[in-house]
Amino acid sequence: MRLLTHNMLSSNIKGVTNGFPLRIEVEKVVEKSVDFNPDFLKNMFAKIEYKALVEASRIMGYAELPDHAEPSMLESDDFLRKFHHALMELHLEEGTLVCPETGRRFPVNKGVPNMLLHEDEV
């Protein structure tokens, strides 16, 4: 699971008002090289929750991403590459995503999160 995916997942357990972002517990992180695509990144910047990405990348072991970002920073190759690395190249292979409100744990196995809810959670 890349952090791009993590950035779009939320816990929709019944009664939860803010299930985003899911807290990450790491068991295995894998870094995978991905082609650098500035246009794609610029499109994605507008759609993601940047703060959640920064927090998640730190937990995954990458501390280079600046705390705050403005769209103007997308013109900087340096920032774009850090953004690219955090968003696209850090994979959670094994671990857990945790609902920020209820503490409910969603497993991630072989890079695939299992977000199925139990009967009493819907």
Partner: protein, 309 residues
């Protein structure tokens, strides 16, 4: 009447229904865990009908092109923009199978697509296939429930459901979720199996029709069917715009005979024997699908709409 309403999700869902829904979801996951491999082996990564010119004769090799054409025709029907400024930038594939549509859409629009399926086997396979195609950075997959999508509101510019709607036990909830995760201005595309529309004097299908559908439901882990009109009404109730619906049954007619023929090849038969009872049962029910289409009972429907800005 109560059964049809329950399938639409129009009455409060009681405990018995909830348990049945859980059983159904498990059945669906297990069915695809077991059958995905054999389908992929013979038919490839698109687990949906092909779109054919009516009365054409096709060979097995043309079917993949027809499956791709189905995707393109659906996008065209929904008027999904191709202009670089207006094309979808985020896509969700609801009931993604092994990711055939996800891969195609991500490649076509050059953007990211995420797919959800109840089957862990399919999600894992989808991930592997995408990686093999170099699309690992553009497509992702999660094990999740279409009736409780793990996404915040308004996330996706294109909400895609290609032949998964027929598995959804509470149609109202299903459509609600599709609308919820759609961004303002997003297009929602549902391609699904429906039963014929009821006339104004009818409360339900006749008993013979229900009997035929029940047999199919049992083999394919389908809940009670609804009609194309039912979908349109649900979309209207959510104030979605540009609602369009069509019956594409004539364009998919060659599909089931072709699937049956592929099952009867040496490869088909041996694969079925090795796969498992759920898959074999699914294969045995295929002639009933043909019968349903021939009788005008089963319809291959497309329903699309746009979420207001």
């Amino acid at each position: 009447m109560a059964v049809r309403q329950a399938s639409l999700g129009g009455v409060d869902v009681d405990l018995e229904t909830k348990t049945n829904v859980e059983k159904l979801k498990r059945g669906i996951a297990e069915f695809y865990d077991e059958s995905s491999g054999i389908w992929e082996d013979i038919w490839g990564d698109h687990m949906h009908h092909g779109f054919y010119d009516p009365n054409s004769t096709i060979s097995l090799s043309d079917h993949r092109a027809a499956q791709v054409r189905m995707i393109e025709e659906a996008l065209k029907f929904a008027s999904v923009p191709e202009d670089p400024m207006k094309k979808p930038k985020s896509i969700v594939d609801v009931g993604c199978g092994i990711g055939g549509s996800s891969q195609y859409l991500a490649r076509k629009y050059g953007t990211e697509c995420t797919g959800i399926t109840l089957s862990p086997v399919q999600a894992e396979r989808a991930r592997a296939l995408a990686a093999a195609q170099g699309l690992e950075n553009k497509v992702s997959f999660e094990v999740a429930d279409a009736l409780n999508q793990p996404f915040p509101d308004g996330k996706f510019d294109l909400v895609w459901s290609m032949e998964s709607g027929e598995h959804m036990p509470e149609k109202a909830k299903f459509v609600n979720e599709l609308a919820r995760v759609a961004a303002p201005g997003a297009r929602i595309i549902i391609v699904t199996w429906c039963h014929r529309n009821l006339s104004s004097s009818e409360q339900s299908l006749n008993p013979d029709e229900n009997k035929l559908l029940d047999k199919i439901c049992d083999a394919y882990y389908l809940p009670t069917w609804c009609s194309t009109d039912d979908y349109v009404k649900l979309l209207q109730s959510l104030s979605l715009q540009d609602i369009k619906a069509a019956d594409w049954s004539e364009y998919v007619a060659p599909f089931w005979p072709a699937v049956i023929r592929s099952a009867l090849t040496w490869k088909g038969i041996t694969s079925l024997i090795l796969s498992g009872w759920k898959t074999i049962k699914g294969a045995m029910v295929m002639p009933l699908m043909m019968k349903g289409y021939k009788k005008g009972l089963i319809k291959f429907a497309i329903i699309t709409c746009r979420k207001p800005e």
